[in-house]
């Protein structure tokens, strides 16, 4: 009887302390850096991306302590395969519009996952467009959006967006949506190239 009361009290205490903590769901943040890659004709062919995951989700996805010496690279490669396979289902969270026309992406084949010095996961990959598109004189808008509302992918500043040879002719601006809720777009990067 005493054990039952102790267990019930413990459960009630755990419930009161933890309930509010988990009532909002799990969320994480990714710092995005992107470089627009043009082909020889000056058309946008792909985006070179670097995603830096926050600390807690990095630990959740890859516990470096659990990796034995020599297996770390293999485990990171396996995790990278899973991540890219899952991301493909959501079009890599990318929403790219050129003059209001939505662009489609091809399957990512070039990717690498590593851990930085702060034990944060860093995913580098090249996101190819299904069809190259000319940028000159066009309005380009890119938004990163997780429809599940779990991840928030954001550029820290306009310096995290680079263009290549046409950069000198492009005006880049970031618009943040502070009232965006989970599952909604929180930021848009727009630029027009001459």
């Amino acid at each position: 009887m005493r054990l039952w009361r102790f267990s019930a009290s413990g459960f009630a205490l755990w419930a009161v302390l933890n309930g509010p903590l988990f009532a909002v769901g799990y969320h994480y943040q990714v710092e995005v850096t992107s470089h627009f890659v043009e082909d020889s004709a000056g058309n946008l062919g792909s985006l070179k991306l670097s995603w830096l995951y926050d600390g807690p989700v990095s630990l959740l996805l890859f516990d470096d302590e659990m990796s034995r010496q020599g297996e770390r690279a293999q485990n990171l490669a396996m995790l990278a395969d899973r991540i890219m396979s899952d991301l493909q289902e959501y079009s890599y969270y990318a929403n790219l519009h050129v003059d209001g026309v939505s662009q489609q992406f091809a399957t990512v084949t070039d990717y690498k996952l590593g851990l930085n010095k702060g034990k944060r996961l860093k995913l580098d990959f090249t996101l190819p467009l299904a069809q190259p598109v000319a940028l000159a004189g066009k309005q380009i808008e890119i938004k990163w959006w997780d429809p599940n509302g779990t991840g928030a992918l954001l550029y820290q500043s306009a310096n995290n967006v680079s263009m290549g040879s046409v950069k000198a002719n492009c005006n880049i601006e970031l618009e943040n949506y502070p009232d965006a809720e989970h599952g909604e777009v929180a930021q848009a990067a727009r630029f027009r190239c001459q």
Partner: protein, 174 residues
């Protein structure tokens, strides 16, 4: 992994519609007596587990909250009317609540996350929803007889009113 089990356990707190339906269902099956509890709990447990597993097969883009709130209105109405429901009716209402809540309780999706973590979250959700229905059922069993079960009938009208209020708030402009 335990973090995601907890995440799943408290998932019902993220949606008022879940709390209203679970509470209403628990009160309704308790009102039906011990027979209703056995049938209702069994039906609910089987369908909530099925619904949760279905979230791994597909995603439905439908207004889960609206469906759940309409279900809560119906359950609250049955509670207020204090009808002696046949076994198939108890099982059906519990199954409807279970499958709808299950499908609406997909765990947080992080690309690359191991399947085991996903299933830990689903297990937490299944456990908490069944526990919540059971915990509400017990006092309902006690309250079904005194004063012609008026307390439960009043609670039934509150369930309906709460569901209607949440439904109206959902459609009101921000």
């Amino acid at each position: 992994m335990f973090q995601f089990f907890q995440q799943g356990f408290w998932h019902f707190l993220q949606a008022p519609s879940h709390i209203i339906v679970l509470s209403g269902l628990g009160l309704l099956i308790g009102q039906q007596g011990s027979r209703g509890i056995h049938i209702g709990l069994l039906s609910f447990t089987l369908t909530i587990v099925s619904g949760l597993l279905l979230t791994q097969l597909f995603t439905l883009n439908w207004k889960h909250d609206v469906v759940l709130l309409i279900l809560a209105i119906a359950i609250g109405g049955l509670l207020a009317l204090r009808l002696n429901l046949p076994a198939w009716s108890i099982a059906s209402w519990a199954a409807l609540a279970g499958i709808t809540i299950g499908i609406d309780s997909a765990p947080s999706m992080i690309p690359g996350m191991k399947t085991a973590i996903t299933y830990a979250s689903l297990a937490g959700t299944a456990l908490s929803t069944c526990l919540l229905v059971l915990l509400v059922t017990l006092p309902s069993l006690v309250l079904r007889s005194p004063l012609n079960g008026i307390i439960l009938r009043v609670l039934g009208s509150w369930v309906t009113a709460s569901a209607l209020m949440v439904l109206v708030l959902m459609f009101s402009p921000r």
